[in-house]
Symmetry: C2
Subunit: 493 residues, 2 copies
């Protein structure tokens, strides 16, 4: 709908935050709405989300999960049952207090809340669904035969954030939340780890976004969890983005909602739980991992449109036939492709537009090249373009899409490697954090106090305690006390 | 999770309403939640909804629509902008008035609404999204080049209904809502008709549920619409179910939200609109169209599981191999199939269970039949079972699934034909309506007054003014005044 050109993108180096907003707007992914902090996800942004959903949904089903749907509202008495969880979300809840409007007696064209329609008990718009789900699970679980219960929900949730950013932090967002119930602690921990692994695979293999896998420190843990597993990605401004979390909830929710089961040995025990989620925030991560000053760059596996074919504006029958044949061939390979025959816009204008929207491959069909049996193929990730023989073109494009996917991951990985620094003293820590940014691998004494001091001094927080890699012991970068392994620090979104 | 048998289903003839509730519960489709009027859609019910969504979504995309997502909340000032729409929904709105909870000073374990966190403007939880969407469209549409705008949203909505029934009428439900914008009245009317046709095709070809297509009378029209197109199905108790509606909204929302566009001739005009939706209510319709006293009956095209293979309890290697080969073959034909190897439950118990859940085809593999190269194949719709040669079994099953789909539609169609009565005087009208139920085709003088009188006397309402079929003129069954065509009356859900 917009005809604007890519010069509307502020360069990253000039104003990173503006660059991000420009891309979200100009690539027509999303926009702010009339409701404070809530976004409208536009068709192009939503198509991207649908592709992400489809892949994740299959991964969840392949690991034995089923989808279900639970109510949007949580009665206040249920909401407050698991104390830490309630405390964690109480400050950012949308609360429904009434169930009716009536005509304003002083202005017939207006409506007012009907004071007589006050709810006996307030309803919280779910910020997360542990409470309503575990209250339901009490009736579903009575024996070990009912376990494990492996359920996922695709839903909207609301957290009344004060400072919002499109995709990254919005009052309402879309997500999936898995909620599982298990016989043993071991099984529940394995489930939490398995889903972290699923998220990491999705981030790396589909979003082409390398992630650190690790556990959260006590202070960064999900409200109500015993342990939070996280995947952490690095954005181009050197800040980290928490991209997905998976929680081992212990027996906290089972105890709060009295969910017990009869074991195989005929004993009664509380159920063990996990929950895990990723959200439309991932789209923010995708944008900030790959995009450049010309606009959005999308990994082929998730791009709503993978290939665009642009014949020169004066399309004759022959050009159109070539384009249509190519489309048929590419669609036969399950490649998402469209042609742009619009005669009112120039070649150059169109290429700019598709670059702005991050379409991975553009095929330009011109008359002169065609006389030599060639077409122009441009790749969005490197902005390179070359002449390619029409013969075997579909195969070439298929191969190129794979190459782009791989190259985008490697490029992001190299960026992360270049922006990951081992630091062993606090002066260096401060200097690196301030000047270079990125991930800092440093020893930490394991105390919340030190974590807080480091945060105060540098704004860097512990993104995760890695589960793999270097496990050498050392001395805390801040206190000098013993440390079991390096942990990952960064400033974060 | 439940081990109950089908004797828990109350027969239809005994108590139709109880029968319905039993099926929803025992087939594990959904249940009531801790939130008044809100349901939990259980995995089996949700899998059914996912299948319905997948088909509809493809139909919408094939007719040129794109998905997007708009906020859950509607600020009160936007909600009241289109007066009739606001009036229609004001009495059943969930209203968010606060955005924070705090610890109850008199009981530290409790939370109370923080009176200091009162919203300046109340937010309505969307009962439908015309208001928020048309407020957004104002910024998206400026020229005829931006039209048509063809957008659909899959979402949850909330209508604070006082009397709720699982799937049929719930305070929160899942649906899709299409919202389109057009240059001309003609185009918008065509769109509304096109989507009614899509719904009718979905109902008949996938749900195997025959529907009347027609227009609503003035009194039954959607609040804010100029014209409402509907599809109306007949349930087994002789009551009608409005299964999907498509609205021609005229320029009402464009005027309320000031959405104008520059025409090709450089004039400024208000945009023409449609909206259309179907919801999880369809699942209620599906249940009540086909199910019987043994449980749920599902049309193969939508059944989460189309075939179950049940080998005799003592499975040996050979039986398992036969079952697994059959699964591979059926999956290769895109048939949804599972085997049940559970040794703790008997043959008979299992067949009852799968009948209860409406699995279209059950394959029993027993040792004795197998010696003759045969297996037992049972179809859920007719409850017939026969011995079928193992050779060519997969092809046979594929064919059988198609037959079941067709047979279910024909059976429902015959039921509707048998329960559709032309009536020409009001005494007969009352008698048929009371004793036989079903659809009554009667002449009507076109006035709201007569409609109301008939409703008072019989509880029957005008379900639709048909768009096809007999268009002969006549005299109103109630007033004797002239009538242009017969209309469809019925008592309705």
């Amino acid at each position: 709908m917009s005809n604007k050109q890519s010069e509307v993108i502020t360069p990253r180096a000039e104003d990173y935050s503006k660059w991000y907003n420009n891309i979200v707007k100009e690539a027509q992914l999303a926009e702010n709405s009339a409701v404070r902090g809530c976004m409208v996800i536009k068709p192009y942004g939503f198509a991207l989300w649908e592709n992400m959903q489809a892949v994740l949904d299959k991964m969840f089903k392949d690991t034995g999960h089923q989808n279900a749907y639970f109510p949007l509202f949580v009665p206040k008495s249920l909401f407050e049952a698991e104390e830490k969880n309630a405390e964690g979300f109480a400050k950012e809840c949308a609360v429904v207090t009434h169930y009716r409007l009536k005509t304003d007696p002083s202005d017939k064209a207006k409506l007012i809340v009907d004071p007589e329609a006050k709810l006996e008990e307030e309803l919280i718009v779910r910020p997360t669904s542990e409470a309503i789900i575990w209250n339901t699970y009490r009736n579903w679980i009575s024996s070990y035969r009912d376990l494990p219960l492996l359920i996922n929900q695709w839903a909207n949730v609301v957290r009344w954030e004060m400072r919002t950013r499109l995709f990254l932090r919005t009052a309402e967002f879309l997500w999936q939340e898995g909620h599982t119930a298990h016989e043993t602690k071991k099984e529940a921990v394995e489930e939490a780890e398995r889903m972290q692994e699923v998220y990491a695979r999705f981030a790396e293999d589909y979003m082409a976004m390398p992630v650190w896998k690790g556990r959260k420190s006590d202070s960064e843990r999900f409200a109500g969890a015993e342990d939070t597993y996280t995947i952490e990605a690095l954005m181009q401004d050197g800040k980290a983005l928490q991209a997905g979390t998976s929680h081992f909830l212990g027996q906290n929710f089972a105890k709060a909602f009295d969910v017990k089961f009869q074991t195989n040995a005929n004993k009664e025990e509380y159920v063990w739980a996990t929950s895990w989620g990723v959200s439309t925030r991932l789209i923010g991560g995708l944008i900030m991992t790959h995009s450049d000053d010309k606009g959005l760059v999308l990994p082929p596996k998730l791009a709503p449109q993978q290939v665009v074919i642009v014949p020169i504006p004066k399309v004759n029958g022959e050009l159109k036939e070539i384009a249509e044949n190519l489309i048929t061939e590419l669609q036969g390979m399950d490649i998402r492709v469209k042609a742009d025959y619009d005669k009112k816009r120039s070649f150059g204008f169109k290429f700019n537009e598709y670059d702005l929207r991050g379409v991975p491959v553009s095929v330009g069909i011109g008359k002169r090249d065609l006389e030599n049996g060639m077409v122009q193929v441009a790749r969005r990730d490197t902005l390179e373009s070359e002449l390619v023989p029409l013969e075997g073109l579909a195969e070439y494009i298929k191969e190129l899409l794979d190459q782009i996917q791989d190259n985008m991951f490697l490029k992001a990985l190299r960026f992360r490697q270049a922006h990951t620094t081992e630091v062993d003293d606090f002066d260096t820590f401060k200097k690196v954090s301030e000047e270079k940014g990125g991930f800092l691998l440093a020893h930490w004494d394991g105390t919340e106090e030190t974590e807080e001091k480091i945060k105060e001094a540098t704004k860097a927080t512990i993104r995760c305690i890695p589960l793999e890699g270097d496990m050498t012991e050392g001395k805390c970068v801040y206190s000098g006390k013993p440390s079991k392994q390096r942990v990952v620090f960064a400033k974060a979104y």
